[in-house]
């Protein structure tokens, strides 16, 4: 983990760009730019790999946290009857549609040096402009999605199943796990949806990560920067990779949802 949060990058994107620029490659995008983008991807360009790898690591870890919180929360909301349930569901639905950039802003304010968390100077609170801060923002964006879809999946399981499972001798805990296992396809869809929501998100990671070259630059923020700077080949290469990742996510999701319909 420590290595992940403060690894130093051997090759900076700007350097890469400079090298390519000095070889008088066209940088204004058309035709050549696309070929160059493909070349960057298929030669395994180091700077590109760094960005892709950081994106996957930040969103992957955020997804892990979101799953650890979202799946139990969704199961509790879908199966339990307790005081405050409706209120939590209302908050969760709000969270599912909350603008990520606003979450970024809130996390920014919380983590900034004078903020309530940043001022604690605690070793467990990540500082702004680190991958850790980005993980926090993305976790907050993704967990309502995971919880919401999990709740829906769990509520879709035959109501008589819990009773039957208990009649066969299941404890409350075993009953919950059995219902989650019955809703497994929907639970997987919830996790994929959470990942889709954060890998392609730009506003929050820009705010709390700061898009620092070699430290907090991810696919989305790099695309913004490279496009602004006119480095269209790199921006295109990054865009193509992001597109490929989201495409894979969507195909996976559709396949899983199709599976729900089959079953």
């Amino acid at each position: 983990m420590a290595g992940f949060f403060d690894s130093s990058r051997p090759l900076r994107i700007i350097q890469v760009i400079q090298i390519y620029a000095s070889r008088s490659f066209p940088i204004n995008g058309t035709g050549h730019g696309l070929i160059e983008a493909l070349r960057l991807i298929f030669t395994g360009d180091a700077a590109l790999l760094e960005i892709v790898s950081l994106s996957l690591r930040v969103s992957g870890i955020a997804l892990l946290f979101s799953t650890l919180i979202g799946v139990p929360l969704g199961a509790a909301l879908g199966l339990g009857r307790f005081v405050g349930r409706k209120l939590i569901v209302a908050f969760m639905y709000t969270g599912m549609g909350f603008p990520p950039v606003v979450i970024g802003l809130i996390v920014y304010l919380l983590l900034s040096r004078s903020g309530p968390l940043g001022s604690l100077n605690s070793p467990v609170v990540p500082t702004l402009f680190t991958p850790g801060a980005m993980v926090i923002a993305q976790s907050i964006i993704a967990f309502p999605l995971v919880a919401g879809f999990t709740m829906a999946a769990v509520m879709g399981v035959d109501a008589g199943l819990r009773q039957q499972v208990r009649a066969l001798g299941a404890t409350t805990w075993q009953t919950t796990l059995t219902v989650l296992a019955e809703a497994r396809v929907g639970v997987i869809v919830s996790i994929i949806a959470g990942f889709g929501g954060i890998i392609s998100e730009v506003g929050a990671v820009m705010l709390v990560g700061g898009n620092i070259d070699g430290r907090t630059r991810v696919l989305t923020t790099a695309i913004v920067l490279e496009t602004r700077q006119g480095n269209f080949d790199l921006a295109l290469a990054l865009g193509a990779i992001l597109l490929a990742i989201t495409f894979i996510i969507n195909v996976a999701m559709l396949r899983m949802q199709g599976k729900t319909l089959d079953e």
Partner: protein, 246 residues
């Protein structure tokens, strides 16, 4: 089985209410070890509710249920160990979306035990479905699914098997297989059976004793022969002859 006790269940002054609505009121009911006790009565009379109480899925509102050597009082959930000596096969066979084998093995899995003696295969063979072990449960027909549900129940070797209209909506062949299996479990393994049915003919075919439940109250309990030939309550006669309007 506890042979020195005259009852398997002893229900005393039991009531069950949902909200302000009382759905069961039983003064006394003994279910004897090793018998097949049929509970008949029109729809809505409280038969399924009584089975849920006997399976310790819900506590009674008042009164007590003594089961073997333990007594479960009103308002308190029964200990897990007690609940695990009983199981229910319901009208609708709610199978897990897994293989037939995994479904039958499920009760063992819950108890943290493994299928060492081939109990799963034996149970499937007993309901005539050994050849479907590897099939996905969702592909079964209604009758096959119900037989799997019965196999799933017998694998855990319960002291009591509760059956809630297990053959409603099934074709005669599957009804025959299920009735024959229940009879065998009762005779060969001395399993106590409580059979809820609205089919008096099924009660007559299987049960040693029959109780009639009307509006949450037991109207009459009698040995099967007497229940049909010599009913004490006119409503029993009416129910048996199919004259009861409900």
């Amino acid at each position: 089985m506890n042979d020195d006790q005259p009852f398997c269940y002893r229900v005393q002054n039991l009531t069950k209410a949902y909200g302000s609505r009382q759905v069961l009121q039983l003064d006394a009911l003994d279910i004897r070890p090793g018998e097949i006790f049929a509970l008949v009565g029109p729809s809505g009379s409280g038969k399924s509710t009584l089975l849920r109480l006997l399976n310790f899925l819900e506590p009674p509102t008042s009164g007590a249920i003594t089961f073997q050597d333990a007594t479960v009082d009103a308002g308190r959930p029964a200990p897990l160990a007690l609940r695990r000596r009983v199981t229910t096969v319901a009208q609708r066979p709610i199978l897990l979306n897994r293989s037939v084998w995994a479904n039958v093995q499920f009760g063992l899995q819950l108890r943290g035990s493994r299928d060492r003696e081939g109990t799963v295969a034996a149970a499937l063979a007993e309901v005539g479905l050994a050849h479907l072990a590897r099939q996905a449960a969702r592909t079964l027909s209604g009758g096959e699914a119900q037989r799997v549900a019965l196999a799933r129940a017998m694998v855990i070797a319960p002291d009591v098997l509760l059956l809630d209209e297990p053959t409603a909506n099934l074709d005669p062949y599957n009804v025959g297989v299920i009735e024959e299996t229940v009879r065998r479990l009762n005779r060969q393994r001395a399993m106590t059976v409580v059979l809820v049915t609205h089919n008096v003919f099924q009660a007559r075919r299987l049960a040693h004793r029959i109780g009639l439940l009307l509006d949450g109250r037991l109207i009459e309990i009698a040995a099967t022969e007497d229940f049909f030939a010599n009913p004490q309550d006119p409503r029993t006669g009416a129910f048996v002859r199919g004259e009861m309007v409900y």
